[in-house]
Point group: C3
């Protein structure tokens, strides 16, 4: 069994953003030389997500509005976590969008449907943060 | 390490439905000959889910009502994604229910608690769509 | 390829609670002897979650309030699942928080960011329930 590990670094200046990281994950897979196995991609921070959906800007705006409705940032005082912090909502948005994805690796490729793309979802930006790619297989 | 791959196809005529795919995944596991490992089951479409919960029709109706409350289909004009489309809500419902499950394989069986069953959740039906089963192990 | 399996048992007297199970999962990893691979940790019940977030009591109270807002327990009669049961809301809260996590194993350690901790989330306590740890690798 082979294994491969790489950290991906992000520095989003806005509080929230969605970044397509499919090309970076494909690079990792090529570097790994793994042809059959599983690829895990996860946020290493608890106010960020890795998820799979569509690379469509309108949808990303819809997600942003929708997440703000289900887990509003303001008023920050509504959350007990926000003592010297203002990111409690980011911990909730991350649960809605998920921490990680696991992707099948088949024939040396990410085994994806037509529209599947991997995103890093930032909900508390303004600093350097990390994601992890771990691939195992043969 | 062995690996196994199979696509599962669905054609749901309704917009939304939940389909118990546990028997199909168990068939895949038998065909794979894998005794110890991990099974990934994921939707290959971004308006559908694979999730694990109870095979209870009342609960499925509750899920449908609840998802419609958290991510309503109408009015379709509320979503920027809905330009020539009407499925933005399906992209949200899929995030709530999740893209994939990873299941332990032990002694050649899906290593499940008493009530765990795997479902394909369709949120934008009316056409042929796919799920993926990938199993790795020995 | 090595594989390791262990059940973790819980008995939460309250209806809802979050329990940090990171030390138990680390024990499992040590016992497994696996240095490189993937660790799956999942609830074996469909009214409970395993998720990764912050071990901060204020945040856990925020999660409890927030989950109750998005998937309220009362009135129990609002859910069709609640015929001789009162836990439909727990099936929804579990979908919001997720069934499972998959964690990279690197150098014999859980490959975590600074604040990542694994929690068992109970949404329908008052009885003995199980989680599963399955680790594969070398």
């Amino acid at each position: 069994m082979k294994s491969y590990r790489k950290e991906l670094w992000f520095n989003v200046s806005a509080r929230r953003a969605f970044i397509n990281i499919t090309p970076q994950v494909e690079d990792c897979l090529r570097q790994s030389g793994i042809k059959e196995g599983l690829a895990l991609v996860n946020a290493m921070h608890i106010t960020a997500s890795v998820f799979i959906n569509d690379d469509e800007p309108g949808l990303h705006q819809d997600y942003d509005v929708w997440l703000e409705k289900l887990a509003p940032h303001d008023p920050v005082s509504q959350y007990r976590h926000n003592v010297g912090e203002d990111n409690a909502d980011a911990h909730m948005k991350r649960q809605l969008m998920g921490r990680e994805v696991v992707v099948a690796v088949t024939g040396g490729r990410l085994d994806f449907g037509t529209w599947e793309q991997i995103f890093y979802g930032e909900f508390d930006g303004g600093r350097r943060k990390r994601g992890l790619v771990k691939i195992i297989g043969e």
